[in-house]
Every structure is written in structure tokens, then in C-alpha cells.
């Protein structure tokens, strides 16, 4: 892998190469090209990120004072419910699916996903259930107000008495999201199992693809459990059954098991591709191979397996018997071991390298630090006696926002900046990128760190009003929240302006190793002129091995790189 002829590539890709789709209208069509679908996912998800973020700003506005004075309590409750739901089902999942959609076929040397039409159908469900969720703001009674867990009996209460109510729409949207995710998961798993380029054995596959595989397998075994719970809840709500209604002999705690059996593993569906992103980004900008590649990729699979055995740690205070509490405490602690292996491996990858602090690297480093912090508070939460105190307090909210904003959103930004030149064929503006990083990193810590002392002091989550002693930290958190809102502006400006006006990107601007970097930016329809023949591992930095035995770009980039 020499990348010697960067200039030649740059010169070549100045002219739009043949077959390069330069028509923006295709992003609004039922395209079956995985790259178009990937970008459709990402842009749609980002729109919902902004909506979810706006809701969060209003919540932070309410919480800047102890009294419930900005919005009505029902509105506040709808806000946090919809914020959580949108951020998970409309932003994080579709965003990561989009990223995986774009990258996995390129990284494994395939021309598309295994089932392109299924892929497109899965995507087009996203705007459908997104709209369904949004519509619930405008119906009598408003959106669901039972939190993103939708625990019965609160979720069964339906004060309007209407058949079409916020909770019903919420359940339908979540069910559709599940259908879309299962379609996606079948597609990803099949693609990764069956469509790797010749020579790409399991241990030559980039870590990102390993993490996508692990994450999508979780969807396959986890989501059905949520679906089962959601169907039963919907029947209770609309058809008069009594599965979860204690007033009629049902068992509300069973719902919690159904819900968490999926929703704990779901956090790994989210974080695994971010782990993958870290594993891709650190070697490029530290100019060193991923340290302990095999340990790192195998630990993803171990996480997949363990993630199915820890769900009760969300129910330590739900009347769970002691033996279960202790069992799940041990399993929860155990899952931090493969996670720790990854963290140490990234530090060792960075250590002693030749670091280039471009925006993707900054976001990856910032994300790693946040993840470390969240992992430590996670182990604390796994310790039952301590969790009993902070369960359902702001401490938990702080913990998961460090993972979901600190690590996941920052990791997503790292990925977007890193692959932006590949996806669009343009370079982003480095200065705006760095500004974006600084604002985000400060915003995250300002917004989410204060939640930890608040939780320790005993402030419950999901409250519209609180006792005055909590005001101090809440003011800081609110300021951080508004800063996070501001932080998206340089990002949007950067993406939009550089997509239109940015300098043309060469095939391999970062001098990175990987099949996606061997073809033009943006890649042509069907990606590879010639299916690559892989002859070495994915992180050969510092050695002279060649990654492939042929030139996958064919005549598009004639110089063999």
C-alpha cells in the first residue's frame, strides 16, 4: 500500500469521471444504490436530529428554573417522550444505518448490498414512521406522554378516550421502525456473510464491518422481543385485553422485561458502529495499525452475546428478586471487559503514532474520552446498591448522554468528516470543522456533567419542576444545552457550503488504507470497475504491503495505488 501517486489521482478526479452520478435528484427517488440510500438515511436522520434537538432546547428552557413555568406539565412530558423517541428511532438508528449502508459494501468490496430493493424499502419506511410520530403533535390529546419506555399502566391511561391517540401512533411508529430495522438487519448480515471480495477472509475485514455485523445481529434477536411487547401493549390499549393492566389481572413488569430485553442490547446497536468508526479513524490519523486487531474485532461479537444477558440492570428497583439483581450485576460488570479491551486498544493505537489532528481525529478523541467517562459511570450503575440510589435520577441521564451524545454523536461527526470527501467528492472546511468540535466538546460536558451531581443529590429524571437546591447545576446544564444547539450551526454551514463549493476531493485525501479509498470520490454506481482481490489485512500502516492485487477502479484511476 504505497499511495505514491496522490497527485495523479487528484489530477484525474478533477474531471467528473464517467458514470459518476452528479444528479442531485436521485436523492429524492426510489434509488436502489446503497450510496444514495446511505445519504438519504443520513440526511433524513439529521433533520430529525434537529427536531429532537429543538425539543430538548425547550426542555432545557423549562429546567432553567425550578418551577414548571415555561410549558404545561403535559407538554413537558410529551417533549421528553418525543425527544427520546426521535433521538433513538429517528436519528441514531437511521443515521448509523445510513453510514453502514454507505460504507459496508465499499469496505468489503461489493457492488451493492445483497438486496438493493429491500434496502430502499427499509429506508422509505423511515419518513413514513417519522411523519406518523410528528402527526401525533397535532391530534387531540397530543403525543405520547409515557416516556420512551412506554411503561404500562401510564401508557394505557389515554385521557382523551379516543382510539387514535398519541400512544397508539407512537406504538405504530415504533413497530414500523422495527420492521425497517429487521429488513436492514437481514440485508447487512447477508451482505457481510456472502459478498466479501475474494481474499477478504474474516480477519481481513475492516473493524467497522465487524461492528456492523455484531450490531445487526443484535437487531435480529432483540427487536422481536420489543415487537412482542409492543403488540401486546397495543392490544391492551385498543382491543381491551389485559396483558399488562394490573387492574384486570395483568402484569406490568413483564412488559419491562420485553422492553429491556431489546432496549439494553439496542444501546450496543448504537455504540458498536461507533466503536467501528473509532477503529477506522484512529489508525488513519495516528498512522499506525489498529492495535490488537483480532482482540478488538472478536470483542464485538462477545459484546453481542453478553448484551443479551444484562437487561435486568434497568430493573434493579422494579421489584426484582435478589438473586436476579446479583446475577445481572455480575453479567453487567462482565460486559465492561470486552469494552475495556477496545478502549485500551485505541489508546495503544494512538500511542507513539504520528498524530494529525484533523477534525475527524478530534471528534474521535473527544468521543473516546466521553465514552471512557460513561463506561466508568456505567460500571457504577451496574453495582446494585449504588444503582438503587441513582436509578431513575439524573445520574442515569448523565451516564447515557455521555454515551449517546459524547461518544455516539461525536463518533458520528468523526465518521461524517472522515468520509465526507469520499461521499461527496468535496473537501470540508477544516477551520469550521475545528470550531464545530470545540463547541460540541464544551457543550457536551457543560450540559451533561452537571447531571451527575444532580442525580447523586437525588433529583429524579423526567421532572418538569424540581426542588430549589437543584437549580445551580440545572442552570449550567441548560447553558450547555443551548451551546450544543449553537454547535450544530457551523456543522450545517460547513456541510452545505463545502458540498456545493468545496475543493474537489481526491480519491484518497487522508492517505488511508481501505478498499473505499482505492476508487474515485464519489464512487461510481456499482463502486468497483473490477471486484478487488484482497491480499492483506486492513491496517497496514507503516508497512509496504499492498492491500489488493488488482486495480478496483479500472481505468477511472489508471495509476495503481
Amino acid at each position: 500500500m504505497s499511495n505514491a501517486s496522490l497527485d495523479a489521482i487528484a489530477a484525474k478526479s478533477d474531471q467528473p469521471f464517467p458514470g459518476a452520478p452528479n444528479n442531485w435528484r436521485r436523492f429524492f427517488s426510489f434509488s436502489t444504490d446503497h450510496k444514495v440510500i446511505g445519504i438519504q438515511y443520513m440526511v433524513t436522520a439529521f433533520v430529525f436530529f434537529l427536531i429532537g434537538g429543538l425539543l430538548a432546547m425547550v426542555m432545557r428552557g423549562e429546567l432553567i428554573t425550578p418551577e414548571a413555568d415555561l410549558v404545561d406539565r403535559t407538554v413537558y412530558n410529551a417533549l421528553f417522550t418525543m425527544h427520546g423517541t426521535i433521538m433513538l428511532f429517528m436519528w441514531t438508528f437511521p443515521m448509523l444505518n445510513g453510514l453502514s449502508n454507505y460504507l459496508v459494501p465499499l469496505m468489503i468490496g461489493a457492488r451493492d448490498m445483497a438486496f438493493p430493493r429491500l434496502n430502499a424499502a427499509a429506508f422509505w419506511l423511515v419518513p413514513v414512521f417519522g411523519t406518523l410520530l410528528m402527526v401525533s403533535f397535532f391530534i387531540p390529546g397530543g403525543p405520547s406522554q409515557s416516556g420512551w419506555w412506554a411503561y404500562p399502566p401510564v401508557s394505557l391511561q389515554n385521557p382523551t378516550g379516543n382510539l387514535i391517540n398519541g400512544q397508539v401512533l407512537w406504538l405504530l411508529a415504533v413497530a414500523l421502525s422495527g420492521v425497517s430495522s429487521i429488513m436492514g438487519a437481514v440485508n447487512f448480515v447477508t451482505t457481510i456473510f456472502r459478498m466479501r471480495a475474494p481474499g477478504m477472509g474474516w480477519f481481513r475485514m475492516p473493524a467497522f464491518c465487524w461492528t456492523v455485523l455484531s450490531a445487526q445481529m443484535i437487531q435480529l434477536f432483540g427487536l422481536p422481543s420489543l415487537t412482542a411487547g409492543a403488540v401486546m401493549l397495543l392490544l391492551d390499549l385498543t382491543a381491551g385485553t389485559s396483558f399488562f393492566d394490573p387492574a384486570k389481572g395483568g402484569d406490568p413488569v413483564l412488559y419491562q422485561h420485553f422492553f429491556w430485553f431489546y432496549s439494553h442490547p439496542a444501546v450496543y446497536v448504537i455504540i458498536l458502529p461507533i466503536f467501528g468508526t473509532f477503529s477506522e479513524v484512529f489508525p488513519v490519523y495516528a498512522r499506525k495499525p489498529l492495535f490488537g486487531y483480532r482482540f478488538v474485532v472478536v470483542s464485538s461479537l462477545i459484546i453481542t452475546v453478553l448484551s443479551a444477558m444484562v437487561w435486568v440492570h434497568h430493573m434493579f428497583a422494579s421489584g426484582t428478586p435478589s438473586w436476579m439483581r446479583m446475577l445481572f450485576m455480575f453479567s453487567t460488570m462482565l460486559i465492561s471487559v470486552p469494552t475495556g479491551v477496545k478502549v485500551f486498544a485505541w489508546v495503544a493505537t494512538v500511542w507513539g503514532g504520528k498524530l494529525r489532528l484533523d477534525t475527524p481525529m478530534l471528534f474521535a478523541l473527544g468521543g473516546l474520552v466521553c465514552f471512557l467517562f460513561a463506561g466508568i459511570t456505567g460500571v457504577m450503575l451496574g453495582a446494585v446498591p449504588f444503582d438503587i440510589h441513582v436509578n431513575n435520577t439524573y445520574f442515569v441521564v448523565g451516564h447515557f448522554h455521555y454515551v449517546i451524545y459524547g461518544a455516539t454523536v461525536m463518533g458520528i461527526y468523526a465518521a461524517i468528516y472522515h468520509w465526507f470527501p469520499k461521499m461527496t467528492g468535496h473537501m470540508y472546511y477544516e477551520g469550521l470543522g475545528k470550531l464545530h468540535f470545540v463547541l460540541t466538546f464544551i457543550g457536551v460536558n457543560l450540559n451533561f456533567f452537571p447531571m451527575h451531581p444532580l442525580g447523586l443529590m437525588g433529583m429524579p429524571r423526567r421532572v418538569a419542576s424540581y426542588d430549589p437546591e437543584f437549580a445551580y447545576w440545572n442552570v449550567i446544564a441548560s447553558l450547555g444545552g443551548f451551546l450544543l444547539g449553537v454547535s450544530t450551526l457551523p456543522f450545517i454551514l460547513n456541510i452545505v457550503s463545502s458540498w456545493v463549493l468545496g475543493k474537489r476531493a481526491p480519491a484518497n485525501p487522508w492517505n488511508a488504507i481501505g478498499l473505499e479509498w482505492l476508487i474515485p470520490s464519489p464512487p461510481p454506481v456499482e463502486n468497483f470497475e473490477e471486484i478487488p482481490i484482497v491480499v492483506s489485512g486492513p491496517y497496514g500502516y507503516g508497512s509496504d504491503e499492498s492491500l489488493v492485487a488488482n486495480n478496483p477502479a479500472g481505468e477511472l484511476i489508471s495509476e495503481h495505488s
Binding site: A68, D72, R73, T74, N77, A78, S146, Y151, P153, V154, Q157, T160, G250, P252, V253, K288, F291, G292, R294, F295, A317, S318, G319, T320, P321, S322, W323, M326, M329, M333, L334, V337, V341, V343, F344, A345, V347, V350, W351, K354, L355, L357, L372, I376, V379, A383, V384, P385, F386, N391, N392, T393, P453, L456, M457, G458, R462, Y539, Y541, G542
Partner: protein, 320 residues
């Protein structure tokens, strides 16, 4: 292309590097121990025997957590500050692909660490002897090898009629069956193990007193036995900890821990009081909604009318 010594290769460690590493580890440990001490200050007052145990655990967790966090971020920070490529340097770093020994170490050491943490947490839990709803003994059925000798540090549960805790959307009500008292303030004698029966009349609620570090979901359809040991006199906040709908945040009350004499005194006076309507924030806010020029809210489940009690407290009363 490659630097002659790479820090990830233990064989090339010189005495000086080892000494430096040891010094750094000691510094890290010293700071972490200090942070772990601070952890006690971040918590509410220690008003129960459980609080002492939980805070010890939290201090321990904070110490270990700080050690790891500081160690890892320091390494990253060092890299970021001192291991940057020069502006025009496009060469690669050393092609170190891994080191089996290091990898095995950083798998087994954390494994040992989490087993240690879990075992310690288990012991704390055992001592807390939290009464779960399906639990009829007061500590965990011994998982054989675990040392549970210290389990006896808390006095056994005395045979007394439990106080009934009734919670609904959105009020707390405490029934003292022996004295036939209903109160919206929970009074408990200090240094005596409290016994409660948690009863929800509608949805899930949570019984949570931060100063006691105890919390238990209250599940409609089942009665939950619950207990803890108040050890410090004072007034503390009781909060609903499991989201229960519109006025969830307003569903708070006060716990008063007092001397045995004061407690008996209170029981005696409260029993004399006639039933009166207590102040109830949810109901108050709900009825005032009609006064608003425009209602910007959605239809809500109606709050239950304020409880009628022998002894009423107000949410505005002070607490620690």
C-alpha cells in the same frame, strides 16, 4: 520510519521508564484516593444505615473509576501534545500491530477488577438486606462461597405492624394501622428498623428518599414489603421516582425521623386530630388550570382529590 524504542514493547523498557511509570501510577493512585474521599461530599446527608454502606461503595467506585479515567486520559493527552506529526511529515508511525502479553494483561486485569467490584457490591448488598417484594428473608440466599459474616451488623427486623404507604396519582398517604392514623408526612423513630408496606392504587410509582439511599418501585396489583434503618434525626424529602404521569414531579412528601419519645408524642397527638383535607399540589395546580386565559396543555388524567388525613404536611415545609 520507525522510532527505535516503542513504548508498547515491554522488552525495550529501560529502568528509567519503569521508574517513571511507577511514579506516575503512584501519583494517579494518590489523586484517585483523594477524589474518592470527596465522593462522600456529593451525596445527601447520611440519614440511614444503608446510606453509610452505599456511600462507602460509591467512594470505592469513584476511586477506581478516577484511577482508570485519569490514567487513560493522561496517556491520550500526552500523545496529543507530544506525538504529533510535523506539518510536512507524511510518513507513517511504527507498524506495531499488537502485543499478545499486553493484550492478555488488559483483558485479565479488568476482569479481576470487575469481579472485585461485583463481589464488594454483593457484600454491601447483603448487609443492606433490602426487602424485595418477592423476598421473605432479609438477606440474599447465600451463593455458597460468598462471605456473609458481616450480614448481621444490622439488627433483625422487629415484629411490628408495618406502616402502609399508599401512593396514587398524585399523592402520598401514610397509614399507621395500630394507631389508626392517616398522614401525608411519614414519621419514623430513629435507630429502629422501619417497616413499610408499599401500595400503589393506580400506576407505577417509586418510593425514594435520597437521604436514605433507598428506592423501590411501587407496583399496582402487589403489596411490597420494604424496610430500612433511619439513623439520623431530621426532615427529609420523599420523592416519586418512577414516572407516573402528568404531575409526577409534584408528587413529593416529607419524612420526619425523630427520637422515640417525639415519635410516640406525634402518634398520640395525631391520633387525636380529626380528618381534614390536606394540601395537594397536583390537585391545586389542576383546579387552577381553569383560571388560565389560555391552556397550552393537553388533556390529562385527573388528579385524585386531596387526601383526608389526621396530620397534614405541606410541600413547602423545610427539609434537608
Amino acid at each position: 520510519m520507525t522510532t527505535p524504542t516503542t513504548p508498547t514493547k515491554p522488552r525495550s523498557l529501560s529502568f528509567r521508564t519503569v521508574a517513571q511509570l511507577v511514579a506516575l501510577a503512584i501519583a494517579d493512585a494518590a489523586i484517585s484516593v483523594w477524589v474518592g474521599r470527596q465522593a462522600y461530599l456529593w451525596m445527601p446527608p447520611q440519614a440511614s444505615a444503608e446510606a453509610l454502606l452505599v456511600d462507602d461503595l460509591f467512594g470505592f467506585l469513584t476511586t477506581i473509576g478516577s484511577f482508570i479515567f485519569l490514567g487513560v486520559t493522561a496517556a491520550l493527552l500526552y500523545s496529543v501534545l507530544f506525538q504529533r506529526a510535523d506539518k510536512y511529515d507524511i510518513s507513517d508511525g511504527p507498524p506495531v500491530e499488537g502485543n499478545l502479553l499486553v493484550e492478555i494483561l488488559w483483558t485479565t486485569i479488568p476482569l479481576g477488577l470487575v469481579i472485585w467490584i461485583a463481589t464488594y457490591s454483593y457484600q454491601i448488598y447483603d448487609q443492606m438486606a433490602i426487602l424485595g417484594p418477592m423476598e421473605h428473608m432479609n438477606h440474599v440466599p447465600s451463593l455458597s462461597l460468598m462471605p456473609s459474616a458481616e450480614a448481621a451488623t444490622l439488627p433483625a427486623v422487629p415484629e411490628q405492624t408495618p406502616i402502609e404507604v399508599h401512593v396514587r396519582q398524585w399523592a402520598w398517604e401514610f397509614h399507621y394501622p395500630d394507631q389508626n392514623i392517616i398522614s401525608t408526612e411519614l414519621h419514623l423513630p430513629v435507630n429502629e428498623r422501619a417497616r413499610l408496606k408499599l401500595i400503589s392504587e393506580d400506576v407505577l410509582h417509586g418510593f425514594y428518599v435520597p437521604a436514605f439511599r433507598v428506592k423501590q418501585d411501587v407496583i399496582p396489583g402487589s403489596t411490597i414489603d420494604f424496610g430500612f434503618m433511619p439513623i439520623r434525626e431530621g426532615r427529609y424529602r420523599l420523592r416519586d421516582s418512577d414516572y407516573s404521569g402528568t404531575y409526577f414531579a409534584a408528587n413529593q412528601s416529607t419524612v420526619v425521623v425523630e427520637s422515640a419519645e417525639a415519635y410516640q408524642q406525634w402518634l398520640a397527638t395525631a391520633a387525636q386530630q380529626p380528618l381534614t383535607e390536606a394540601d395537594n399540589r397536583a390537585f391545586r395546580e389542576f383546579t387552577k388550570l381553569g383560571d388560565r386565559p389560555i391552556s397550552a396543555g393537553w388533556k390529562t388524567v385527573e388528579p385524585a382529590p386531596p387526601p383526608r388525613v389526621n396530620f397534614a404536611s405541606s410541600e413547602e415545609d423545610s427539609y434537608e
